[in-house]
Amino acid sequence: MSETPKASPILYTRGITKRFMGVTALDNVDIEVYPGEIVTLIGPNGSGKSTLFNCITGYIKPDSGNTYFKGHNITNLRPDQIVLKGLARTFQEVRVFSSLSVLDNLMLVAQQHQEDNLFHRFFRTPRIRRYEAEAREKAEELIEMVGLTRLRDEPSGNLSYGQRKLIEFISALISEPDMIMLDEPAAAVNPTMIERMKNYILTLNKAGKTFLLVEHNMDVVMEISHRVIALDIGRKIAEGLPAEIQQNVEVQEAYFGR
């Protein structure tokens, strides 16, 4: 793996194991993601990609093993604590706060990263107004980036699937995380949207963001990934450059059988 940067990984897991009622969903999984990389997890359905995502982001507690992010053990933190450490994520089934407007969806996330003080909040001191203005400015900038300015005040539940997917994506960006985990960013959207998603990811990556993706669309995987990790029935079966993984016999067997 000549392209692997020399720096220490921004995120790594050691021996993550998770069983659901006797079924082993993850079996001793070690992965590393280095700063500035785009790494993609692939594998057939039920191979444990989503479970691994949920273990890393605190939604599922692994039976054993640990996750380290920026040198800290985050295994036992709650999801909200992990995102505040700079590790943002999206969901496979697109999630937005449907009763909140597009703008409020984004401002909500931005505000969680601002200093909090009940006194200031309650009396709406100038500091709170400034924070509110900052959050709004950031939100409007990102909404403009994905071209949804016209729908800014619309309840996000009224938006189309693709639009909601964009909102979820920029919601993950607004906190300026060090690393972003996207669960199937190219799933169930039209080819134009896939192109746009790809471009956003590549642009942000050039600007220094690290990505860990789960993706089924192999064209996208091959095009944007620096490195691919393949899972099958809860084990890591291969890891390497996209082209290497494409040729890997074990990966092909996992997908198509012997």
Partner: protein, 342 residues
């Protein structure tokens, strides 16, 4: 933003206050004044309950427990300590906030429906304890002779609150304070976080919001307000019975909230007024006496009509009405919407 809209909120406060001050001059009987006090009580009660139910989306059934126990805190602790009116309210609020904290920690471990039933169990247990602990609470014989509030006023000297009208004017600042707290809790940052928890807890977590923190916040603030209101009730009725913890309140609150409009300040006020004044109007409509059991039929009918024709409640109708009135003044849509203030 349009100037008219920027001043809308303070203007509506002034208008509302003026309206509340004038009301007892329009309806001058003592009976009318007691109905007004009742309406005020239910406005505060509904707002305190709606922070949890409407904004965070946790339906709990413990509101009458906090209200009734708040009344008993005044009757059994405040009175022997000879606390004044305001200290009684503060004491009841503080004790009920603590209570909510203790009850909330295990209750919120339960998921949705189980949580609701769990809080009902808590409320029922409280009622039974108050009913049975005769040595402490005198049980169904009620605690009597709770002193009426007295204030030291300049020029007048000691002023004792006696008539329903006195109590009405005493209640107005409390209603306003509750509205201010309600608005502060349900707008901007906290309001957005509340709505986030209500819409999708999983996504809220991924956005850096800890759902339990906001559920607890709403639960505790609601309990504190209900407790203080119970203290007012004790000092208003001067008699407190276990029925103050009864589930009748829950039914009434739920009707007010759902007919008024979940999460809507205007709607809740309209709902609370409707369901305190309407039964009184129905009681003696012209010369036809309508029996209380027929009242429930009218309530049911209203509930049905609202669900059919205005699922957002009276609050939604009100907003639509104002939207039509304001249209000529509007240039741009205001963008300060948060939790669902309307």
């Amino acid at each position: 933003m349009n100037r008219f809209l920027a001043w809308r909120v303070p203007l509506s406060y002034v208008a509302g206050l003026a309206f509340m001050l004038i009301l007892p001059q329009l309806f001058t009987t003592r009976y009318a004044h007691s109905v007004l006090v009742l309406a005020g009580i239910f406005i505060i009660f509904a707002l305190s309950y709606d922070i949890s139910v409407g904004h965070v989306g946790t339906v709990h059934l413990a509101a009458p427990a906090f209200f009734g126990l708040g009344a008993y805190v005044t009757a059994l602790i405040g009175v022997p300590l000879q606390l004044n009116f305001i200290l009684n309210l503060v004491l009841s609020a503080a004790v009920m906030a603590l209570f909510a904290l203790i009850v909330g920690v295990p209750s919120f471990r339960l998921s949705n429906v189980t949580f609701t039933i769990g809080t009902l169990a808590f409320a029922t247990a409280c009622l039974q304890v108050v009913n049975s602990a005769v040595d402490l609470t005198r049980g169904p014989m009620c605690v009597q002779r709770i002193p009426r509030p007295t204030f030291m006023l300049p020029f007048i000297g000691n002023f004792r609150v006696v008539s329903a009208l006195n109590y009405y004017y005493l209640l107005i600042p409390l209603v306003l304070l509750t509205i201010v707290v309600y608005r502060a809790m349900t707008k901007s940052r906290i309001g957005r976080a509340f709505a986030a928890v209500r819409d999708d807890e999983v996504l809220a977590s991924a956005s850096g919001v800890y759902p339990l923190r906001y559920k607890m916040l709403a639960f505790i603030v609601g309990a504190a307000i209900a407790g203080a209101l119970g203290s007012f009730q004790a000092q208003y009725l001067t008699v407190i019975c276990p029925t103050e913890l009864g589930a009748d309140y829950t039914t009434r609150l739920l009707i007010i909230i759902f007919v008024g409009g979940v999460g809507s300040l205007t709607g809740l006020i309209l709902g609370a007024v409707t369901f305190t004044v309407l039964p009184e109007l129905l009681r003696g409509l012209g010369n036809i006496e309508i029996a209380p059991s027929y009242q429930m039929i009218v309530f049911g009918l209203i509930l049905l009509l609202v669900i059919k024709y205005a699922p957002g409640g009276l609050g939604e109708l009100w907003t639509k009405f104002w939207g039509l009135v304001q249209r000529p003044f509007k240039r741009k849509t205001p963008v300060d919407s948060a939790g669902g203030e309307s």
